[in-house]
């Protein structure tokens, strides 16, 4: 083997982009919450995991009802998952974070880690700790490259992941940039106290942020359960960690940053598992986090964090 062929390189880019899309979707939830209330929402990974479970259930349910059209499956699954995780996002914020607003920084952080532990074990009790798997819904793909040599493989699912991610990201960008509520969101992340004085219901904006973040996490969850067809109560932990890394990488608080960070992390990980040992792909993600914090703490697109007294 030549060791380093262009086609293999291309394949890793495709795999990396797929993975990166998922990370980017989850990372947006972290970055938006951090941008507005300056808190790391540790429970976000768990919300994603719940989204993946709901996705798997709805797809299974639809299969039992005899629905086989890919469009129908996708739309119904996304809608139901978003409804459920959105409710979780709202409830968690309402019950575990809102009463703590204005307390010292450590207090909501510990509450968040408590919620994360709680949700993980709660799903484990409800659904069991073992892997749940299903048959892939969408199979097949395209192959490019010479006969007999290394062929680049792009599955339909990978294309679907890319398309859906781009669609939701554009939707979010439009919403934040153009709508009235989006403007309120931006105002809150700029200066929450001032926004409040000017008549913006900041509690509502914060709740909306959690719901939006959770909805995107649900999209990621559904896509992952369709792609890998495997879910267990612990997937949220690592995915949350990686997505947070992506958010920091891109500059925490910045939505385009989270998208970019997710893609960069996905690519890094994909190359690491191709050219290094697979077991060490998580180490690469983490090393990247440390490196970014060392060299550029504000991330790729982040603004410097000005401390106010």
């Amino acid at each position: 083997m030549s060791g380093f062929s262009f086609l293999e390189f291309l394949q890793q880019i495709i795999n990396g982009l797929t993975l990166g899309s998922i990370y980017a979707l989850i990372a947006i939830g972290y970055t938006m919450v951090y941008g507005i209330i300056g808190m790391i929402n540790f429970a976000h990974g768990e919300i994603y995991m719940i989204g993946a479970y709901v996705g798997l259930m709805v797809i299974t349910g639809l299969g039992l009802f005899g629905v086989h059209s890919i469009t129908a499956i996708l739309l119904v699954t996304l809608a139901i998952s978003i409804l459920v995780t959105g409710s979780y996002g709202w409830t968690v914020e309402r019950l575990a974070y809102r009463p703590l607003r204005g307390s010292p920084r450590l207090v909501p952080l510990i509450s968040a880690i408590g919620v994360s532990i709680f949700l993980q074990n709660y799903v484990q009790i409800g659904q069991g700790a073992r892997d749940v798997s299903m048959q892939p819904v969408l199979t097949g793909g395209w192959r490019f490259g010479p006969e007999g040599g290394f062929q680049v493989y792009v599955s339909y699912m990978q294309v679907l992941i890319a398309v859906i991610t781009v669609a939701f990201m554009s939707g979010l960008t439009l919403f934040i940039g153009r709508s009235r509520m989006g403007r309120a969101c931006r105002a809150c992340s700029e200066d929450r106290g001032m926004a409040n004085l000017l008549g913006i219901d900041t509690d509502r904006v914060i709740a909306l942020t959690f719901v939006l973040g959770a909805a995107l996490a649900a999209v990621a969850g559904v896509l992952v359960s369709m792609y890998y067809g495997l879910v267990n109560p612990f997937i949220g932990f690592i995915a949350g960690l990686k997505a947070f890394t992506a958010a920091v990488l891109g500059g925490i608080g910045s939505i385009p940053g989270a998208m970019l960070g997710g893609v960069v992390l996905g690519l890094a990980e994909s190359f690491a598992s191709a050219y290094l040992q697979t077991e060490y792909k998580d180490v690469v993600a983490f090393a990247l986090l440390i490196l970014v914090l060392l060299v550029r703490p504000t991330g790729l697109l982040g603004r410097p964090d000005v401390e106010k007294v």
Binding site: M39, I40, Y53, V54, L56, M57, T60, G61, G63, L83, S87, Y88, T91, L95, A96, P99, L100, S103, P104, R105, L106, V107, L109, S111, I113, G114, V115, S116, I117, F118, L119, Q120, N121, Y122, V123, I125, G126, Q127, G128, V132, S133, M134, F237, I238, L241, F244, T245, V248, E279, Y280, D282, V283, F286, L289, I290, L293, L294, P297, D305, E307
Partner: protein
């Protein structure tokens, strides 16, 4: 009333949406066939309860306010008297001495199993006190404390197995290496806002577990390291038959061999380590360094304006905290005799954090009691083991809401100016 009804209906609907996918439906995998089982009962019960509670929220709140004891009565009750007593330095010392005496006499009267469980509890006391430095005093969240614990345990285990190092050499080395790890990890992260430390240590904990599982030549992989020697008492061993050039404890004192000796010795050794930990931490707290930790927690900007270097102070807290985890790890390895990566997962870190949060951040007595409670209670109620982590998570959230200062809040040692200080002004 219509308002209450619509609110209640909304809450009930929300509950249904939240609970149905988790408890109402189960995915059953049966070979290639995947099916959904429906179990609507728990969801219906929960929905009805939430609906009723929300519907009658106001009457219930009024009832609660009436039934609740008046504030003055609650303030003056036993708790206040007890609090007063504990505040007095004289009684405080007596209380501590009493506790210590009880802790030292107790193992000779208790069963071997109980002493063994208490030894484990002492390890958690040590871990809790160590984590309390960084979470309670310095106000930084560390979510991968088990990683430092693992570094300590594996350092001693590896050195003992490869170079035949005794526990008494392994202990300081384990602490030192763990401290070094904490220092190196904190160096890049602590220049930034404290929040990043939480996620970096979370990642570090996960990476440590991964490395322990994969660096087979160093850590033995998933099998771990076995045959770790137990500590000796000035060279006296607690085995039935002493090694070639050693002496056994029971031979030296002319006693009959009993397994209890070793167990009680481990317990007392643990107690000594806890006391040493307490002593060091309490001395540090009264030094400028310890004062700086707490000052930093309260207001970083003010600290900086007074000329304190926040990075150095945070780094010292993390390094020390890691060192204590390293000591606890070495002791744990010596007690178990074998270690594997399963003992150092995120659950372990979460448990130690729960101990600190439950006991009261910054309160040492609280942390110690919480550590004992959290180790001993699961032993008493094993059938609830499944719900243990669930309860920890819930407790963390509820404590943050109702009593962020913990069950036994930390009390500041009062610092008063001497009487004549005012006169000389």
């Amino acid at each position: 009333m219509p308002r209450a009804l619509s609110d209640a209906l909304l809450a009930a609907a929300l509950t249904a949406v939240l609970l149905t996918p988790i408890f109402g439906l189960h995915i059953r995998v049966d070979g290639v066939n995947v099916s959904l089982n429906r179990t609507p009962m728990p969801v219906i019960v929960a929905v009805v309860i939430v609906f009723l509670l929300r519907l009658f929220q106001q009457p219930l709140q009024r009832l609660w306010a009436k039934l609740r004891a008046p504030a003055s009565w609650r303030e003056n009750a036993l708790t206040a008297a007890l609090g007063q007593t504990v505040q007095q330095p004289r009684y405080r010392l007596a209380l501590w001495l009493l506790l210590l005496a009880a802790a030292m006499i107790w193992p000779f009267t208790a069963s071997r199993g109980a002493v063994d469980v208490m030894t484990l509890a002492l390890i958690y006391v040590m871990l809790g006190l160590g984590l309390n430095i960084v979470v309670g005093f310095a106000g930084l969240l560390v979510l991968g404390y088990a990683a430092f614990y693992a570094v300590g345990a594996y350092t001693y285990a590896y050195l003992a197995q490869q170079y035949g190092l005794s526990f008494w050499w392994g202990l300081p080395l384990a602490g030192g290496l763990a401290a070094l790890t904490g220092f190196l990890l904190g160096l890049p992260v602590l220049r930034l806002r404290g929040d990043y430390l939480a996620i970096v240590t979370l990642g570090f904990g996960e990476i440590t577990r991964l490395l322990l599982n994969n660096l087979n030549s160093l850590t033995g992989g998933p099998d771990g390291i076995g045959n770790i020697p137990r500590p000796t008492l000035f060279g006296l061993e607690f085995n039935r038959v002493a090694s070639e050039d050693g002496t056994a404890f029971h031979e030296f004192f002319g006693l009959d061999y009993s397994g209890n000796h070793g167990v009680i010795f481990m317990y007392l050794l643990g107690l000594a380590l806890v006391l040493a930990t307490l002593f060091v931490i309490n001395r540090l707290l009264r030094m400028p360094l310890g004062r700086a930790w707490e000052a930093l927690r309260e207001d970083e900007t003010a600290c900086r304006s007074l000329g304190l270097n926040p990075t150095v102070i945070k780094l010292s807290a993390l390094t020390l905290s890691a060192a204590f985890a390293g000591f606890a790890g070495a002791f744990f390895a010596a007690r178990q005799g074998y270690i594997n990566p399963e003992s150092f997962t995120f659950i372990e870190s979460a448990m130690v954090l729960a101990i600190v949060v439950l006991g009261g951040m910054g309160s040492q007595l609280g942390v110690m009691l919480a550590a004992v409670a959290i180790t001993v209670l699961p032993e008493l109620a094993r059938e609830f083991n499944e719900y243990r982590m669930l309860a920890f998570g819930l407790v963390m959230v509820l404590m943050m809401m109702w009593r962020p200062q913990g069950l036994i809040p930390a009390s500041r040692p009062p610092q008063k100016l001497p009487e004549h200080a005012e006169a000389t002004q």
